[in-house]
């Protein structure tokens, strides 16, 4: 495989382009609403109309507006059909000649699409994820070629540092710094792991990236491997994502066949292979040390750090772990340069972030916006607000490790620091909108139940603390708790946060703490007067006025 081969594939693909393209969303959301049937019927209808030479029906990745699926977009007509059924196929074909099909349409120029900036999702909904040729047509694997032929591993790390990219898994650790540490770690054998164990409920960005553009992740991993000196990579993906797994398997197979993975890539001395590891349903495996234990076939329990994976990771070798979205950011950075990337976003948070918008909101789906976009723009303009005229009460980010941002803080720009100040985190990108019908204490209980079930049981603060906090929250919800219980809950939150071994326990109190911070009145409304506390029946110094509070 040399550059010329890439160019040839690209030229051939472009020459085969037809006048009209019908793009059918084939991501998991639309697939569950019979997108496959839609695509088959469209192909049939094209054949019946004798338009095979003019119309291409292309299965593509996520087209972002998940709530209106299955989606079909006709180019160059620029019509986006929504909620398409297989029976609609002939009408869509007929409408290509100027007629109007009696099928609901969405406006492709609406704020939901207009405010998006595609870096990670640039190819999502455009290319066919099941064909490597389709990825090559949009410049795929050219960055890898450039890196392998023109740059030293050191240059590659420096470019990454210059781009300012930070880890998209949630913590926001500078990616360049991480790469540099692994590159400097001594060791003949090094590993690369792509963390695709997207366990955060309400998040589906990584699933969509893997389903829509698997090759960009593979290319990103290969560039990272060259930078740090690794020759073996693993992608650890959840078993709950069967479609993402099968597309990744196919992508790895095609990349090997074409020689962009394997040995002597682009006639350089660089070798790189990627293997899949399928998870088995444990949220804690998103934590890097637990993930490595799971890749080794063990129970996924975390271990204390240091040593950090960059020094001693998988099988005791230096290991680089990055999230799916982080790797997907890599090829565009090397294609367009570090300055280009550093020019997008805010001072400390560069680039874009993909969010999975869900919950009580009109437009649910995937969005990618520049860092620093205000939450209000995301939920009101792009999301269209809460359905049925309800008021938005809070936006939850960061899943079970994050917090709830109340409506009065909707003007907060989305970046790592601003969200941290409000007691939430950027997280991996799940964004759940809650309207005024949502009970915030119940939300806190829901996340605590999640953490309680998912605690691996290794360290006591998390194993026992989450159970006690859950019991207290249940007690509050059943209106059996007193002010003392609330104090105990706050004490426990603080203790579990500061003494747990890994991120799961350290962040488990976050949803409770943030709802206590902004919606304390909801907790207090559920409290019972304490019989023996100040103001209770048993209090000898009882002062009736205190009871009112």
């Amino acid at each position: 495989m040399i550059l010329n081969d890439l160019v040839q594939i690209k030229t051939k693909e472009l020459a085969a382009r037809k006048k009209v393209t019908l793009r059918c969303c084939m991501a998991a959301g639309c697939m569950s609403s019979d997108a496959k049937g839609v695509k088959e019927q469209l192909e049939n209808a094209v054949a019946q109309a004798g338009l095979e030479n003019d119309v291409e029906v292309r299965g593509v990745g996520c087209m972002k507006l998940c709530c209106e699926g299955p989606l079909v977009q006709a180019d160059p007509q620029n019509s986006l059909y929504i909620k398409v059924t297989p029976e609609n196929a002939p009408a869509i074909i007929a409408a290509l000649h100027g007629g109007t099909a009696n099928i609901p349409q969405a406006d492709p120029d609406a704020a939901f699409f207009k405010n998006q900036l595609g870096i990670v999702l640039a190819n999502s909904g455009v290319i066919d994820p099941e064909r490597i040729e389709s990825y090559i047509t949009v410049g795929g694997y050219e960055a890898l070629h450039e890196v392998l032929r023109e740059m030293t591993p050191r240059d590659v790390v420096e470019t990454m540092v210059g781009s300012g990219l930070r880890g998209r898994g949630g913590a926001g650790f500078p990616t360049g710094l991480k790469w540099g540490t692994v590159a400097k770690s001594p060791g003949a054998k090094k590993y690369i792991i792509c963390n695709a164990d997207e366990g955060d409920p309400g998040a589906f960005m990584d699933r969509s990236v893997l389903e829509s553009d698997p090759h960009s992740v593979l290319e990103g991993m290969a560039i990272a491997a060259y930078a740090v000196g690794a020759d073996q990579g693993f992608i650890y993906v959840r078993a709950e994502y069967p479609l993402a797994i099968s597309r990744l398997q196919l992508a790895i197979k095609q990349a090997k066949q074409l020689g962009v993975l394997g040995s002597g890539i682009f006639e350089s001395p660089f070798n790189f292979t990627v293997d899949l590891r399928i998870g088995a349903g444990a949220f804690v495996c998103g934590e890097e040390t637990a993930l490595m234990a799971s890749v080794e076939g063990k129970r996924g329990t975390p271990r204390p750090r240091p040593p950090f994976p960059a020094e001693s990771g998988l099988y005791g070798c230096p290991t680089l772990i990055n999230n799916v979205e982080t790797f997907a950011n890599v090829p565009p950075i090397y294609r367009n340069g570090a300055e280009w990337f550093a020019g997008i976003g805010t001072e400390k948070s560069k680039g874009t972030k993909v969010f999975a918008l869900a919950g009580n909101i009109k437009n649910t789906g995937l969005i990618e916006v520049p860092m620093g976009t205000p939450l209000r723009t995301i939920v009101q303009e792009m999301g269209g607000g809460a359905p049925g005229g309800a008021e938005i009460k809070a936006v939850q980010t960061g899943g079970p490790s994050g917090g709830c941002i109340p409506a009065q803080h909707l003007d907060t720009p989305v970046d790592y620091e601003s969200l941290g100040k409000l007691g939430s985190i950027m997280g991996s990108g799940g964004m759940i909108v809650m309207d005024d019908s949502t009970n915030m204490v119940d939300v806190a209980r829901f996340f605590m139940e999640f953490c309680m079930d998912e605690s691996c049981g290794k360290c006591i603060p998390c194993r026992a603390g989450t159970v006690q906090m859950h019991n207290l929250l249940e007690k509050i919800l059943k209106r059996k708790a007193t002010r003392r219980d609330l104090e105990k809950l706050e004490e426990l939150c603080d203790m579990v946060k500061n003494t747990s071994l890994c991120g799961l326990g350290q962040t488990a109190p976050n949803p409770t703490m943030s709802t206590l911070r902004f919606f304390r009145n909801e907790y207090e409304a559920l409290l019972q007067p304490d019989k023996y506390g100040p103001g209770g029946n048993g209090d000898t110094n009882r002062q009736p006025a205190a009871e009112a509070k």
């Binding site: 959301g29 998940c66 366990g199 409920p201 309400g202 998870g279 076939g297 649910t364 939300v443 998912e454």
Partner: protein, 161 residues
């Protein structure tokens, strides 16, 4: 050393071929348990012992891994499975009402199977189908925008059969 399992069940043979593909490596344990569950539907003690013997791993290690991960089940599943997604997006859109209705209708709790072994009711943490919440997976097919009524309608099709 007998190559075949004493029962003569062919599935053990298939499983062994799969282990061979992974060169009986200890780090392939999770992959092998995935395959075992795919073949047998659940992981009974005898099967776990077989895996432990073939991989030369202590049974405690195999049992430990099988019980650690939610995906592995040590009890047989019913003929049909109904998995209600309880992710945050589904939850705020009323998944709790869906599962409540199903539980009441089938008179079982989540994680249980009906007495006639017909339907297993399970919950999932998040299946990543948040855009079409609340989602329910009936026998492996993801179904969007469920309500208590539509879920019961679906389940009654199985019960009536």
């Amino acid at each position: 050393m007998a190559l075949e399992h004493a029962s003569g069940d062919k599935r053990f043979k298939i499983l062994e071929v799969h282990m061979k593909k992974h060169q009986f490596r200890h780090d392939a344990l999770i992959e092998i348990l995935h395959k075992a569950q795919e073949l047998f539907g659940y992981l009974e003690d005898d099967l776990l012992l077989f895996v432990s013997y073939k991989l030369k791993l202590p049974p405690s290690r195999v049992y430990g891994v099988a019980t650690f991960y939610h995906f592995f089940t040590l009890k047989p599943k019913g003929e049909h499975t109904c998995v209600v997604c309880m992710g945050t997006a589904c939850y705020v859109k009323g998944a709790d009402k869906v599962i409540g209705a199903v539980q009441e209708h089938l008179k079982i709790k989540a994680g249980e199977t009906t007495a006639d072994n017909n339907v297993s009711l399970l919950t999932a943490r998040c299946i990543g189908a948040c855009g079409i919440a609340p989602a329910v997976v009936y026998d492996g097919s993801v179904t969007p925008r469920q309500s208590p009524e539509s879920a019961l309608e679906h389940i009654n099709k199985w019960v009536a059969k």
